[in-house]
Amino acid sequence: MATLAPPAPTTTTVPREARAYPVGHEPIHNYLREPRPPDDVRGLARAWAWFKGWALSVDHKRIGIMYLVAVSFFFAVGGILAILVRTELFFVGETIMGADTYNRVFTMHGLIMVFLFIIPSIPATMGNFLLPIMVGAKDVAFPRLNLLSLYIYIAGASIALLSITTGGVDTGWTFYTPYSKETGTAVIAMALGAFVMGFSSILTGMNFIVTIHKMRAPGMTWNRMPLFLWSLYATSIVQILATPVIGITLVLLTMERLLGIGIFDPALGGDPVLFQHFFWFYSHPAVYIMILPAFGVISELMGTFSRQRVYGYRAVALSSVAIALLGFLVWGHHMFTSGQSPVSSVVFSLITFLIGIPSGIKVFNWVWTMYKGSVWLKTPMLYALMFLFLFTIGGVTGIMVGALAVDIHLHDTYFVVAHFHYVMMGGTVMAFLGGLHFWWPKMTGRLYHEGMGKLSALLVFIGFNMTFFIQFIMGSQGMPRRYYDYPDMPWLEPLHQASTIGSYVLGVGLLVVLVNGLWSVRKGKLAPGNPWGGATLDWTHTTTPPDHHNFHHTPLVTHGPYDYEVLFGTSGDSQQGAPVPVVEVGGPQEMDVTVGDGTRQPDSATDM
């Protein structure tokens, strides 16, 4: 939190012309600085007051930033575990740890990355921060519930991490029975942690749906909603409908362990395949909880950095919803070799292919967005282009493992590991990083270092492909996943080594991102109001960083999210900033008053 120190008072260090805020929209009441402890509170009392100002804040922006710190921390932890996993596989036989330790490490990598990082990654950070601003509202519909979901997330994460103290979980993130029933007791803590975190996910989803339905600003019709909101809307539907199922499943698993109710354990007459059905009924839709927000971020990036309307807006928007709904009907493709009925496998395979089509439509639309546009290769755009390339590979390999006969060979091998890393890391994490660079000025008021940004993109791209493309080949050659060692296939050693070296490059790339972020909040250039020339409300109608209340008046939306022509005459130069056009606001302009520093502010600024 300390790293997100507020920038120096911007109005005094930067000439107003260069900042180019609309009249009455200078960042006076920057959310990072206000509310803050009164000046006469000093020392520890000040630190405590400052802490309370954040921890008890119901401001969606502060909650978003707190989520960002938390998920970044867990991403780092999960990443270190991944490096350990890859290092262990460098040589045949034991390299740095024993089999039992390895099993715990890869399990924690999966659990942390899925439940603690990637599910809350984009919705809870950028979603919380931007959704109310993008719809033109002061906050989400239920701000206190929003804070509660942060607390629940932290409580759930703590319970989950408690499992380490009771021996660690070694089941893999899938908790397959009956193994999860027999192994150490830490499974209970982990299952309960995931159960608790589910409520955080449900509450956030509910909050977003209500906000989008009820709090859109005048003129913000469904067809003028930024695609990021469409994708968050679709994500929220999945979060609300699917998460209860994993909750019930994990409770049943806990009851099976504690009471021996005999639902999943074959020794008690239970059915382990039933567990898999329950588990994937949530966990496949969860894949869309992870990727749909990324689609939204990419739409924003492609539009803004091509300065072109996102091609096929309606198709991109509705395909998110189509994916969300169809996503509930494909869970069985995780179970082609599990012993479900062959007829089910056939039906699941067919629906799986159908869900590939809306994803394909999106990729084609994004690429075509650049057509006759004005493509600006800044770091966020580099990440967006990386997303397109990597997600395409992730998608076509999804067709490969969705094909019934081929999946028999590829199931539970490194091919699947590579496939979902291309989708989850090449997709969601690239979008997360791209979005983070894109909205970094909005969140912190500072610009990241462009050179470091591009270097990180390059390293991540090289490292990622080196790590995971090789795993496609290893997988189709027969390397099973979750292997501590490969004594039966020593000839794979050179490939494992290349993959491991790739993971180090990837790690260095992500370290550069971290350094860039930490450096920029202290030393970065002050960001202009609209550095990229975006046309959504977050860029055109709020200050950078936004004021505590987002808008001084409820904005009146008169154009679509990608109508860049309304910014005509703007430069979109990140150093100078796009002069934001005079905004039309709902309230009467004559109510502006002169505030202490001589600038004119809308009246709402005085009565905060």
């Binding site: 099993n103 089509i357 493509v375």
Partner: protein, 372 residues
Amino acid sequence: MMQTDDTPVLEERTSFFIEDGSLWLPPQSSTTAHEIDGLFYFILYTSTLLTILVTAAMVYFVWKYRRKSHADRPVDVHESKWLELSWVVVPTLLVLVVFFWGFRAYVSTSIPPTDAITINVEGYKWAWNFEYQNGVQYPNEVYVPVGTPIRLEMTSQDVLHSFYVPEFRIKHDVIPNRYSYVWFEAPEEGTYQVLCTEYCGTSHSNMGAKIHVVSRNEYYERRLGPPDQALSLVEWGEQTYTRYSCNSCHSIDGADGVGPSWANVWGAPRPGSPQGEVNEEYVTASILYPQEYMVPGYENGNMPSYDGQLNEAQLAGVSAYIRELSGAATEADRTVLVLSDGQPAEGEAAAGEAAAGEAATPEGEAMTETDE
């Protein structure tokens, strides 16, 4: 029984690049592999083409429409119904082709021919046991005739496992309390690697087995049980220790493992167990009914039951081997006996009858001596 040492062992794969392999797939060694590979390559080439098209369009657009000045104005692009329709219809047709192809290949590769030979397979932590219809069992390896469809009827003793032979392109989960099957027909003799692909705990990655595809004659011999071997009880125990994967949990050098080490345990007190200490009865009971008593500190319940898998010579051999490791082996333990281990303890197969009888006597002696 004649000694069959001429097992045609296929050279172990030592390098990633081999003569009949490809970059992507291991050699095709079953009659159904080509159906899966055909679809694999169709998707691979189509997707490569698609990825290249998307990437090329991307790179071209990035270069062609790069921003030359901050005041760049894009041209207003109107959406083309036909363009959008084309990238809905073409991928839809493609995936439908892939679906039907995958479906057909799935059906034709998963239904075993009616004349297939059935072999039972049991997976447990962390080994595989193969059993012919005549009751003869092989741990971690099986001999099957070349050019004959084989159906493996599989179940698990403890947790989920998955039976995977990359070169045959077969895989199916092995589930406790339930039977699942895979089938294959290998057109060429050789040795093929079985892997477990469903995570099952500590030694998941060491749960390999071998399928030996051999001539029909050799198969008939192997089906009668392993050849006679002139071994002492200690040697029987040592062989059992590795063949039945005891070594994946129990060390012989005192190192800690999933189960207690065998080093220096002979005579160690086992308070609470019916036998009270590690002796012949204790070892036998631990192998056959492992859940009845567990050593404190090892109550993980991971030990599978070997009831019906080991014959008396092997059971006595394990005890003798443990005695040897504790320096308590007797002269009788080291005396070479002629025994056959292919014979199940009950002695069903006629061919093994004599060997079993042979085994009974010296074994009895060994027992008596230990009791003293």
